[in-house]
Symmetry: C2
Subunit: 154 residues, 2 copies
DNA sequence: TATTAAACGAGAATGATTCGCTTTTAGATT
DNA sequence: AATCTAAAAGCGAATCATTCTCGTTTAATA
């Protein structure tokens, strides 16, 4: 995803191409970790110190409205954003608040087929998403490498 | 679910039985529509005009911590609450913000089995919930009753 | 009934997000 | 290339759901 691609995407949606919009979209793509507005602002300000907070929020709204990004809901008071549009689910870590993508087309088909067969009365499904809540396991300590380490205190 | 039951539930969790706690839990059960804190406050104040907003939030936290109710996440800035503890999913109406319960043990088994067979690397699942987003269909107009209606304009 | 830690009430504070208004700018038009 | 103008950006104030603080009340226990 190059800046040219981003300009292309904005243009396709009939959005004016502005440095702020490019920066926001680029930030979400680069950060690639379902960043909050604050994360995005911090990231952008490294290169463009004068971007206004309100502008970032307005850009985020515009990008969501034009389906260039998606909102990711959380338990917390902060909204998070996702530039990956391909259908996928999310692993929510209760310990760290990290959100990890979970791609599984097999599962998507399972669900789609399930609901094709079992319609929900009076409800028209637009999207089905799994909230998979839990904890990331810290990988099992396998025999740690022996190393010469200086003792903490002489 | 009587008030005696509610007192029982609070007591089992070692929570002090207070009129405010009873009122909040009763409100969520009676409203039965994933109410927001504001909905709950409005409901309660009809009978107890002096309940403090802060108290309601504190009670909600205590009830969640003690697993007597659950939080329901939404797109919006308001948290909503659920007194139904039995595993179920939610239908989110994008048009009206209504959230309807979707019970389906068949589907629950499908998912549980699926993830029993297909572990997610390095992730320990605590809970899986479906966010089913869409719109409630207004029931199809079936042959409308013929009626004598006055014409709109003479 | 007295004791006391826990819970409550009232209002201030917080903080993510939005608003209102002025200034700037992208992109079209001369 | 210079001009035009609706759209976008900037900025400070406002909003509002939720949390905090602290003085007062109360449920539970002895
Ligand atoms: Mn907030
Ligand atoms: Mn908020
Ligand atoms: Zn994602
Ligand atoms: Zn529910």
């Amino acid at each position: 995803m190059t800046i040219t691609d981003i300009r292309q995407q904005l243009s396709e949606k009939g959005l004016k191409i502005t440095p702020q919009r490019i920066a926001v979209l680029e930030a979400i793509i680069k950060l690639n970790n379902h960043p909050s507005a604050e994360n995005i602002i911090d990231y952008i300000r490294k290169n463009y110190p004068n971007v206004s907070t309100a502008t970032v929020y307005k850009v985020l709204d515009a990008l969501v409205d034009n389906e260039l990004i998606k909102r990711v809901k959380t338990d917390k008071d902060v909204m998070r954003y996702d530039a990956i549009l391909h259908a996928h689910h999310h692993l929510y870590c209760t310990k760290t608040d990290k959100i990890k993508d979970y791609f599984n087309d097999d599962l998507n088909h399972l669900l789609t087929n399930y609901f094709k067969k079992h319609r929900i009365l009076d409800f028209e499904i637009a999207d089905i998403k799994l909230q998979i809540v839990g904890k990331f396991k810290t990988p099992k300590k396998t025999a740690p490498k022996k190393r010469n380490i200086l003792p903490k205190k002489a």
